[in-house]
């Protein structure tokens, strides 16, 4: 009998250091584990615990997937202490993910902060895989310090194909890009407000101020796609932890357009 609360085993093949606090975990998925970009999984360390993460790899690759994880607490610390090879558990994928079809033939502005770049990397790779549908991509990334910026090599590659602007809150002597929070690099100079979408993922505080700034710049509620981070246990719309207004974020999200959220009094709590 299928038990929806139990994970399937996955083999951890490789661990890649991204920054002092962030690592990418690569899993092989011979048993055909697939996800859509923006969907999340519950990753578990048997006997220790489980936490929700959004895969950061290209969803078109069927033989492996990657998850980029920041060390912030009990489970993530245990994950960071792992050595390969190891067997972990995975449930999912859960949620709806990014509605790629809605982005077709539009300008796509992608705004990310901190470990929020993880889901966005998967999105960017999915968009790059269909260059005929998604031509006009603009990246705006922020990090606390240059050392905290992840995927540096890849970002270099991406900036060759699309417009990419970086910023850090606090620079060091080698930093040549912008300094300031991510909202300071948001503008509409190369954006056609009538035919664009904007996708935001980052720490809650950054999402809030980015949303305010985007509205101020003239983006419409429906054009702004936000990833809501809520406490989650089941991922299945059953445990009740992730509720906001009439939604279970795990099932009706985690990505929402702002028009669905704006009237909820607790949206920025």
């Amino acid at each position: 009998m299928k038990n929806i609360y139990l994970p399937i085993p996955v083999a951890l093949e490789q661990i890649i250091d991204e920054s002092a606090t962030i690592k990418t975990f690569r899993f092989s998925s011979n048993d055909g584990f697939r996800f859509k970009t923006g969907q999340f999984v519950e990753l578990s360390l048997p006997g220790i615990g489980e936490a929700p993460f959004t895969p950061s790899s290209d969803p078109n690759i069927s033989t492996r997937f990657e998850i980029t994880i920041m060390n912030v607490g009990r489970v993530t610390q245990a994950l960071h202490a792992l050595k390969t090879p190891a067997t972990l558990g995975v449930r999912g994928p859960y949620g709806l993910g990014y509605p790629l079809e809605e982005f077709k033939n539009k300008q796509i502005l992608i705004v990310g902060g901190g470990v929020g770049l993880a889901p966005l990397r998967s999105l960017i790779l999915a968009l790059f895989a269909r260059p005929a549908d998604f031509k006009n991509i603009h990246l705006r990334f922020g990090a606390r310090t240059p050392d905290d910026l992840i995927y540096k090599q890849e970002i270099k590659e991406w900036s060759k194909i699309c417009d990419c602007v970086l910023t850090v809150d606090k620079a060091d002597s080698d930093w040549k890009d912008n300094v300031g929070v991510v909202t300071t690099i948001l503008d509409t100079d190369s954006i056609d407000l009538k035919n664009c979408v904007v996708i935001v993922c980052g720490p809650p505080i950054m999402m809030k101020f980015a949303t305010f700034k985007l509205l101020e710049l003239g983006f419409k509620d429906k054009q702004i796609y936000l990833s809501m981070e809520k406490n989650m246990s089941c991922g299945l719309g059953k445990c009740g932890h992730c509720r906001i207004g009439p939604f279970f974020v795990c099932r009706e999200g985690p990505v929402f357009t702002f028009d669905k959220l704006k009237d909820l009094p607790e949206v920025w709590d």
């Binding site: 038990n3 809520k230 246990s233 009740g240 009706e252």
Partner: protein, 351 residues
């Protein structure tokens, strides 16, 4: 097929023994002025509980703490329960909605996941409910628009009338469970059926006459009262005595929140499913320490938003059956009826 039978009181034990042959049957035992479920055994004297049990009905299907990685409910003997009340049956609809994956209005997906353990137990559960023959001071089912006798959701219902019970079959499952026992029962007389109706009206009248806190506000307006009251200053007053014990959540028949937890048991890894409480400080806390429900007032309000806004929006039904259990267990004497009444009054002032 006959829907109604009459069962003499002296045969109640035989009736329950008959059910217990093929079921894991839970019946009530009285302790002071409360009733508790215990598993039936021949040595026990059956009790026809006058009102709902202390513990919620959900606890028989979804235990407070259960190891789930080695679970196989299809091998379990079917459950039967005697005798939950209308409030309990109504609350079960909330648990069903969540765990059987019924489609909420706001869900954007069609194929919702089913908790198969719940499904298995629920499918086999035989519900032998009963009319309330008494009530507690905290009972306010009428205020939630529910009668003190079952109207749906049971397989068999018993209505006590002086010397016996009017037994009503509502499902084929109920009939099947009593196949072979019918000859111990008779066809109820008109007078017996009349008595049942009389008892039913009388208990409603009694409750209306003796319970001052029965109606905290019109049931249709509850969602509006809670929604409009989101920013009410009263939440801070309501929660002053909350000690964050989670009792109101755990004792509530409609609360469904839980937590999955992993632990090591010797060399084995175990996964547990535990009831969780939204009144606990960490319920909504996310990594890095941010907490959308960072005050007791927000947590208390969250419980009401879930019951009186989320559920009517998604299911068209309040997630409260007026059982009053939360009023009884709260060490802070926080009373759902008083909270709703205050919010209703504030709504009237606004208008």
């Amino acid at each position: 097929m006959e829907r109604f039978f009459y069962l003499q009181a002296k045969y109640l034990k035989d009736f329950l023994s008959f059910i217990a042959k093929n079921h894991r049957l839970f019946i009530c035992q009285a302790k002071e002025d409360d009733y508790y479920y215990v598993q039936f055994s021949e040595g026990l004297e059956p009790v026809f509980n006058a009102y709902r049990t202390f513990e919620p009905l959900k606890s028989l299907i979804v235990p407070a703490k259960e190891r789930i990685d080695n679970l196989n409910p299809s091998k379990e003997k079917p459950l039967a329960v005697f005798n939950p009340k209308h409030c309990d049956l109504n609350a079960l609809a909330i648990q069903d909605f969540i765990f059987l994956g019924q489609k909420p209005k706001f869900a954007s997906v069609e194929d919702l996941d089913v908790d198969t353990s719940y499904e298995q137990r629920r499918k086999n559960l035989l519900i032998i409910s009963g009319d309330c023959t008494g009530y507690k001071e905290v009972c306010w089912c009428l205020g939630m628009g529910l009668k003190p006798y079952p109207e749906s959701g049971y397989d068999i219902n018993l209505s006590f009338i002086d010397t016996g019970y009017v037994l009503e079959f509502s499902t084929g499952k109920g009939r099947l469970a009593l196949k072979g026992f019918e000859r111990r029962m008779t066809k109820p007389t008109n007078e017996q059926m009349h008595k049942r109706e009389h008892k039913r009206s009388k208990i409603i009248a009694d409750m209306q006459n003796s319970l001052p806190e029965l109606y905290p506000g019109p049931v249709e307006a509850m969602q509006q009262a809670v929604k409009q009251g989101f920013n009410s200053a009263s939440w801070k007053e309501f929660m002053l005595t909350c000690v964050e014990c989670g009792g109101c959540n755990f004792i509530c028949d409609t609360c469904h929140c839980f937590l999955l937890s992993d632990e090591k048991r010797g060399k084995e890894n175990a996964r547990l499913k535990l009831w969780d409480a939204c009144l606990y400080a960490n319920f909504a806390k996310v990594a890095g320490g941010a907490n959308p429900l960072d005050t007791r007032a927000k947590r208390l309000r969250n419980r009401y938003m879930k019951k009186f806004d989320f559920f009517p929006d998604n299911l068209g039904k309040y997630a409260c059956c007026g059982c009053g259990r939360c009023i009884e267990v709260c060490p802070g004497k926080i009373d759902i009826r008083k909270i709703l009444k205050t919010l209703h009054n504030e709504l009237l002032v606004k208008k």
